[in-house]
Amino acid sequence: MSFEAPCDDCVRRSRLVARLAPHIQRAREQGRRLPLLLGLSDAELIAALGGRQAGALAAAHAALDPGAARAGVAAAGLAALCRCDPRYPAPLAVSPDAPAVLHMAGEPERLPALLAEPAAAVVGARRASAYGLEVATALGRGLSSAGVTVISGMALGIDSAAHTGALEAGGNTIAVLASGADTPYPASKSRLYAQIREAGAVISELPPRFPAWRWAFPARNRIIAGLAPLTVVVEAGERSGSLITAGIAEDLGREIGAVPGRVTSALAAGPNELLGAGAHVVRGAEDVLDLLLGAGVRPAPARPPVPAHLGSALTAVGDGRDSADALVGAGFALADALGALSELELLGRIRRAPGGRFVVSAE
């Protein structure tokens, strides 16, 4: 089964949003709300943003050749799926500001296949802590291996960690970009991009080779939230984009999950606030699976118990005594501390984080 070409109206709409990119940028700087703008019809949008150029924009909009635009998408090696297509993701279609066209990199059949499975969005801070990265990777791995599709934005930090985890376990993952779907953003994640494109799917509402505008990130977040019935926030500061994603998900009536952090950590402010407002506690992939599939559907995989003599050291590392010296401070003899750290690392229960400290591995 091959994809039908996106319809003329949807292609026009898609190109209109792209053409208006600088106008949207300006409007947002003036404090206008993105969801309201993207929910407008073509003519309203031109009228609202065009100003003195409205006439010229309307003319260009009418003159656009959808055939040429479609050919451009195909030439970039992308597939396109429009809102009128029955296979357009149903959860996304319900929102009034859903993108007209989704451009897909990778095997085009894979997006509907991935979205036919239960899905969860995993998002969080770019500058994440070792703890956050560890949890996000483990979530991605645990969800993907359970057949759940992991949706995220391929940003630095938590997003990439979630994708990386999912790729380690089957590759059930979708990256939603704020640039064109053929243009890895950030560029430093080109390798991750290639892996996701190979094993999962990369999508974007923007045309090929389109750069990432500032407004495109919150716009991208609405797609992430719209695609998934559950959005999990791993780490986020108080004014993080991840909280925007969670807010959109809430507006759409979707479930929100948050990974608790230490109350003293600035990165835990976002998730802890969500938890206070009633979000689900996510301690690991099991909690997410419980939310998506119902509690007790699958047996929890038992982890081999830690050898008795290492138990107290593992607990101490989990409490933030994350180096040999810190353990000595907690009353361990140096030789015991060194021995315990080394054994725990070899057992895979703790890991080296950037900076050389240890972090309890979440699995």
């Binding site: 600035a266 180096s323 400290r357």
Partner: protein, 491 residues
């Protein structure tokens, strides 16, 4: 009339005999010096003329030609002033020429005729002994240093006139000052007893000292990396006499010695990261020892390793491997000893707070920094250790240990290591399995494998065991290079 005075020129770490020949003949008054001297040698004309006159001698108003032979050897520095002046005096009959046959002379002159010490006195005294001369006339302040070489008569003099009188036999050479055995130097040396907390890092220092391993200290700014590194010399065994002589020779050449006596403390050198490659390993037209040679038998400390330019670090590789380095110049190759324990310190990331809330670096910053560190030197660093801010409790607690206690541990382990005579230590079966597992699980690279094993030997030596046990391998694995090792770093 012709006179000939023996002196010495420094050529790397060797002193070569130079004949200072002075010929005086009728002609227009002139004073020329030939024999491949540098600017300081050319300027000696003015100092020698003034010194001779100010000491009450007569400067001959005739044509004077001085030659420093052999002519192919480059002569550098002001130490040829005294031989030139004595040559002029002998050639003009003011000093008996035959008196100069048995002595070498060496030193700089002031315009008033006072003698000043010059670099490399120890090397020159050794040269005097090798040449079979009776003794050396030099500035009195350097007498102690020259007297370290036995079998050479050392005549210290304050002035040109005193030097001339010693040679003529009219004044007895004054004995060199008593050997001050640099006790004062050992006092006030930094000690581990001043350190609070840091048990993990001190353990790493112990291992580094016991096995001669190079060490990388990584940690946020202000946690005590430099403070710990400064204390490494204090846990190394004291210098043997032979080692002390080697060190003194280099320091003498570099002009670092002001007092007499042997260097008694292991050197600690901490060059700034703006240093050039030549400054680090030695160089110059007349090659002089670099920081790594000045740290010979001691500790070379590179703070902010990531800031050092790559060529400088690249230049360190060969001497770190061989324990000496060769500086090649057009005429010849010179060898400088460079057996050091290298300690490097680095922040874990550009801002220094990687892994903690305070870190302001992006993932890309981390990756870039890691690439920078993973450069030429990291594979020479056997031990990678994190240094953390000590816990407030640890600041109030008594020190973990003292330098004397660690020194005893280190000495015992070194003895056991030396008794192995370079043979491999047997590895117990469970330890071997552990290492194989770590390798198979790609926790360590092939290069890391060899390093872990080497460190495990030292740990076994420290524990007083004659075979490597599992616990030793486990601890050694903790010290592996997790910076350039991507499998060890989460995401």
């Amino acid at each position: 009339m012709l006179a000939r005075v023996a002196t010495f020129a420094l050529d790397g770490l060797e002193a070569r005999r130079v004949w200072c020949e002075v010929d005086i003949r009728p002609g227009l008054p002139a004073f020329g010096i030939v024999g491949l001297g540098d600017k300081a040698v050319r300027e000696a004309r003015e100092r020698v003329r003034a010194a001779i006159q100010n000491q009450g001698y007569e400067f001959p108003m005739r044509r004077i030609t001085a030659n420093l032979a052999p002519a192919y050897l480059r002569k550098v520095g002001p130490s040829f002033d005294l031989p030139l002046a004595l040559g002029v005096l002998a050639a003009s009959g003011q000093v008996p020429g035959e008196a100069l046959d048995a002595w070498a002379v060496f030193g700089e002159l002031s315009l008033g005729g006072e003698l000043r010490g010059s670099r490399g006195t120890l090397l020159v005294a050794e040269g005097v002994r090798a040449a079979g001369l009776r003794g050396l006339v030099l500035a009195r302040e350097r007498g102690g240093e020259a007297a370290l070489v036995g079998g050479v008569e050392v005549a210290g003099a304050e002035t040109l006139r005193e030097a001339a009188e010693v040679l003529a036999g009219t004044t007895e050479p004054s004995p060199p000052p008593p050997r001050d055995h640099a006790v004062a130097e050992a006092l006030g040396a930094p000690d581990l007893a001043e350190v609070r907390g840091q048990a993990g890092a001190i353990r790493a220092l112990t291992v580094a000292a016991a096995g001669g391993h190079n060490l990388l200290l990584s940690g946020p700014p202000g946690t005590g990396k430099t403070m710990l590194a400064r204390r490494l010399p204090s846990v190394l065994p004291p210098l043997t006499d032979a080692e002390a002589l080697e060190v003194t020779r280099i320091h003498s050449l570099a002009g670092l010695r002001t007092g007499g006596g042997l260097v008694s403390r292991r050197p600690f050198r901490a060059p700034h990261h703006a240093i050039s490659a030549a400054g680090l390993v030695g160089g110059g037209a007349l090659p002089s020892p670099g920081e790594i040679s000045l740290a010979h038998r001691g500790v070379l400390f590179l703070d902010e390793l990531a800031e050092f330019p790559r060529p400088s670090l690249e230049a360190l590789r060969q001497p770190l491997e061989d324990g000496f380095l060769t500086v090649v110049r057009a005429q010849r190759a010179l060898r400088f000893p460079a057996a050091v324990t290298l300690v490097a310190a680095t922040n874990p990331c550009p801002c220094g707070y990687a892994g903690s809330e305070r870190c302001r670096c992006t993932e890309a910053d981390h990756a870039r920094y890691r690439r920078k560190l993973s450069g030429p030197l990291l594979d020479r660093l056997d031990l990678c250790v994190t240094v953390e801010r000590p816990h407030p409790d640890a600041l109030a607690a008594p020190p973990v240990t003292s330098s004397a206690a660690v020194r005893a541990e280190v000495a015992a382990a070194r003895e056991r290591g030396a008794a192995r005579c370079g043979e491999d230590m047997p590895v117990q079966a469970d330890a071997r399995d552990l290492l194989a597992d770590a390798y198979r699980g790609s926790r360590i690279s092939a290069r890391g494998h060899a390093r872990v094993l080497r460190v495990a030997w030292t740990l076994a030596d420290l524990a007083g065991r004659d075979r490597v046990e599992a616990a030793h391998v486990r601890e050694a694995l903790l010290y592996r290079d997790w910076i350039s090792d991507p499998v060890a770093v989460a995401v």
